[in-house]
Structure formats: C-alpha cells, structure tokens
Symmetry: C2
Subunit: 173 residues, 2 copies
C-alpha cells in the first residue's frame, strides 16, 4: 500500500509518500509545495491544487492521509490551513482516492508513543522508521511523512482489530 501524506498549508504544504512492502515501510518521495505569500488567495489555491494533482499523478498513492487540525490557536492560520486542506480533500475525492484524516497528536503518538512529542522527536523517529541516513529535509516534510507512517500503522491496527472481531464472532457461532 502506498500512502501520500499531506501536511496542509498555503505557504508550505508538506508531502511525504511512504509505501509498505511486507511489514516494512519505505520512503518513496517527499517534497514541499510552496505558494507565494504575495499572490492572491485564489491564485495560491489554484497553484496548490495543480501541484498536488501532479504529485498524485506521479506518486500513484492508494490513499491520501491529511492532517486534521483542531488546535491551532491562531484562527487566521487555521483558516488558511482549512482552505488548503479543503483543496486537498476535494482533489482526492475527484481523483477517486480514499482519504483519511489524522490529528497531530494521533500522528505523534503513532510514531513516538507520545501524543505530545516535539518536532525533533518526531523527525528522529521518522528517520529511524524509514531507515534513512539523515533526518528528512526540508523539515516541512517530516510531519507529512509521519502522517503517512501513522496511516500505515493505524490502518494495519484497525485491520487487525476487525480481523480479531470477525474471528471472535466466527468462534461464537
């Protein structure tokens, strides 16, 4: 399974593509989509959609995992993030791809064991999990990669739970 992680943003939108082969995860690609602050919002969203669209075409993911942001204190940033996330979700729907939303604390908990881990800890775990030589650069891609990893593991976990429930039900019959 190949997951394209999107850490939505207008100024910087992190992208991380992670594939599972057997039970191990591999880095496929990573990048950052930037749109110029001085451009109008409509042109920025248009540019973001075009770039994201070419990422989807190139990476051919099975699912798109997007960060679900609740807790941003700055409402102005939250709006921009919401707009960028909206464009990503709509594009996934139009591409016929399933989406999954994970909160930052779910992502942190999945990769570090703690929902309150800091950026450095997340980056260090992403490096370890994907067996990279260095911490992924640019740093904006770390969250997107962690998101993709989280989706692989949560997906696998949910599949295990479902399988266990099914087995249990079969046993009871």
């Amino acid at each position: 399974m190949r997951v394209l992680g999107v850490d939505p943003g207008l100024t910087r939108c992190g992208i991380g593509v992670v594939e599972s082969i057997g039970s191990t995860l591999h880095l496929v690609d990573l990048g950052v989509i930037r749109t110029p602050k001085e451009s109008e919002i409509d042109q920025r969203l248009l540019a973001l959609e075009a770039e994201l669209s070419s990422w989807i075409e190139r990476a051919k993911p099975d699912v798109i995992a997007i960060e679900r942001v609740f807790s941003q204190l700055n409402v102005r940033t939250a709006m921009a993030t919401g707009q960028a996330a909206g464009v990503a979700i709509l594009l996934a729907a139009k591409s016929g791809l399933p989406i999954a939303l994970h909160t930052p604390s779910e992502v942190k908990a999945a990769v570090t064991g703690s929902g309150r881990a800091d950026k450095a800890q997340v980056a260090s775990m992403v490096k370890r999990i994907l067996k990279l030589k260095d911490i992924p650069r640019p740093v904006d891609t770390t969250d997107a990669l962690a998101l993709a990893i989280c989706h692989h593991w949560r997906g696998a976990g949910e599949a295990r739970v479902k399988a266990a429930v099914k087995k249990e039900r079969a046993r009871k019959r």
Copy 2:
C-alpha cells in the same frame, strides 16, 4: 454588475445573488446549499462544489464575494468553514471569476453602519435595501445577501475613489 455572495459552511452554505441596475440593487436569487452531517468530509466537499458550480452556471455572476472568517472561536467550525471557503475560492478561480473577501464586520458596517450589528439588524437592512416584502428566508441567506450588497457598495466606493484620483491626476497635468 452581478455579485454572487457565498457565506461558506459545510452544513449550511448561504448563497445570495444581487445585481445593480443603475444605482439600485436587486435580488436575483438566493438559496442554501446543505451537505449531510453524517457524510464523509470528502463527499461533502464534492457535493458543495457541484452545487456551487451549478449556482455559478445559473446565476452567471461577474464576481464572487466570499465571507472571510477570522474570529470564530470554535476552531473545529473554523476548519470546516475554511475548507468550504477553499472550495468556493478554487472553483471561482477555475471559472475565471474574480473573488473578493469581506470580513463579517465589514459586511455589517456596510449594510447597517455598525460593524457590531446583530443578525436581526442585518436581516432588516437587507430587506430594506433590496426592497423585499419580508426578511429573506431561509435566514442563512441573509449573510450571503449582505455580503453581495457590501461588495457592490465597497466596489462602487473603490471605483469612485479611483475615478477621483484619476481626475485629480488629469487635472494636474
């Protein structure tokens, strides 16, 4: 000039179309786009885009005015509003239409004279300005109509300022 006002939202997205003929404003159409709360976010955004797209086709606006939300205290709502606004802005850009963003207090100030007017006051002024028999229903359309009115007036104001500046420059030559 015909303005399509959009009060973005996922559960209820208000639409109001207002046209200027000479110096008076006329109601063209109004409505609310709803997407079911129980649907997945990607399907909701897809439905919103489809509905908005048919509104644009039907109403043939010259410009789309969208509410710019900063001050929502509830970040969860702000995110949903941001996603809906993102879809509206992107669609306008793809349709080759200019967009304009106005904040709720700009809209309130434009139609009532006070940036802190309440909903009832805005509704009553919208009724008066558009010479309607009753307050527009459903109530979700009031803000969208006020937004379209605000855009007409702010646009006209800016045009007047530009014309005055031009005249002044011409005079000085």
